[in-house]
Symmetry: C2
Subunit: 340 residues, 2 copies
Amino acid sequence: MAVIVNLEEERERARKSALEALQRLVGDDLKAVNTLIIQHMQSPVALIPQLAGHIIAAGGKRLRPMLTLAAARLCGYRGERHTGLAAAVEFIHTATLLHDDVVDESALRRGLATANAVWGNKPSVLVGDFLFSRAFQLMVADGSLKVLEILSGASAVIAEGEVLQLVTSNDTATSEQAYLEVIRCKTAALFAAACQVGAVVADRPKIEEEALASYGLNLGIAFQLIDDMLDYSARQAELGKTVGDDFRDGKITLPVVLAFRRGDMGERDFWRRTLEEQTQKDGDLEHAIELMERHGALKDTIARASHYGSIARDALGIFADGPEKRTLLEVIDFCIERAF
Amino acid sequence: MAVIVNLEEERERARKSALEALQRLVGDDLKAVNTLIIQHMQSPVALIPQLAGHIIAAGGKRLRPMLTLAAARLCGYRGERHTGLAAAVEFIHTATLLHDDVVDESALRRGLATANAVWGNKPSVLVGDFLFSRAFQLMVADGSLKVLEILSGASAVIAEGEVLQLVTSNDTATSEQAYLEVIRCKTAALFAAACQVGAVVADRPKIEEEALASYGLNLGIAFQLIDDMLDYSARQAELGKTVGDDFRDGKITLPVVLAFRRGDMGERDFWRRTLEEQTQKDGDLEHAIELMERHGALKDTIARASHYGSIARDALGIFADGPEKRTLLEVIDFCIERAF
């Protein structure tokens, strides 16, 4: 038992240290980004900074803007433009979260009440629009049309992914391929753009731009796969974190896709009842987790994530070794080791 | 009676001809804009063009993109860039309408079911985001950072105006000044940007850019004032058009601001009950219209609109006479004469 605890502690330390290494690497730049975020969410309409401040302060990891900062440094960039673009990336992400929570009718995010739960859906929709506009203002102030092209393209793809997710929602016939397309659009596209922008700002050749875009895309897919796995993780439940949100919403994520396909007729009826018909009763979530574990659906979701993590790792192969590269490689481990 | 009918017919003809003159002026360009709109609302996610097509086909006047087209021609522009920017302007407007209808929980727009009424709020929010991203992609393809600055700035101001409207909603203490600030942001800012962009694309000096921005801003204010007046117009009711939407939503528009201020204690209690407490019963809308007419609130809303129309008219003074200028002046008349 003591061994298990020590193992757990060690894992927790490893997880933390990967993210902390990234934070250390981009430390001062991240402070500048946070200052820009606070400045640019201001408005004479008081509700805007109130609501935006609520979600921005809610303690996101700032993973996406840190990726922009680290990618720029990896490319040898020594200027300050990357901070404005990192802030733009975080604003796009925050706008998406606000609209997501409205669409999902979520009441909690990271254990805190969502903006829509506190202020209602209406201001969440409108403040999302405001932050999205502010993101573009930050990019325009930077002045790179190429960056604008990358991030406006990513924004359109994110919206497409969100609609696609809505359409496939509650549909147990969703294939792994269709699910992958959803997460590629709704999550990985912004990771890819955030990283690619780092190479663009450093004015690096196409090969480095594409390498960073590929790193970001595959990292983003791995990140989302683990996120979706954690929603059914008994380990998460033990730690007191929320599980089962996706189950209650009838979202079709990879653990469901795999368990559905590997199950028998009776099990498929269970998935149809709970996710398609949304008829859920006490014990259903526990039974869902049991079925997933029985069929190795959670374990194999992690295996799939590791696969994308490997692609992300190889994408960075063209860059010289150094603290930036090492840290970005550790971020892959962080994204996947959250699973344990 | 026959005289009245003839007068009505004549008015209707005058109204129509002002808009038709604008349509004739920009005819081929507008066709190009419509083609761009159809092209750029496409997506492999079928629900996106379905929903976007519903609101785009619902027969908007295309007033804003036509203003961009006409402003560019007024400035002597002979290229084709203005069509892409006009399409971007219409996409920003459409995205705003989609989110507006969600926020207002509207069931009808221009007599047709709203997208949120047909497909629900969720896809309306997300397709709005998609169209907004597409607007920026169109601007990025055009390549003018100045245009991007103007339209991203306008987008942020629109969102601020929408939040401001939400905050002042149901508050009978709203002053005329506060109301003006709402409509300047939520409506007039896009009219201003749409017109200004015409001068930018033609590479005209600052004086022409500002003249067109001022024309658009004041035209937009006049347009919104008349829109708000029409929601209480007995004439509209006679024509079988919807009235009373703002009243039912408890929106504080200028007719209410004026009637509230000019009324006695009992009348103010009426406005508080119906708009603040939202306790409405049969006959309340008719009583509201009666109070507005008694205090000249509708007539004076038109007078205020005429004031802004005059500013818009004078703003065009620096431009040489010609069909473009004549048509843009007629648009002012169109916006105000809708009132009769």
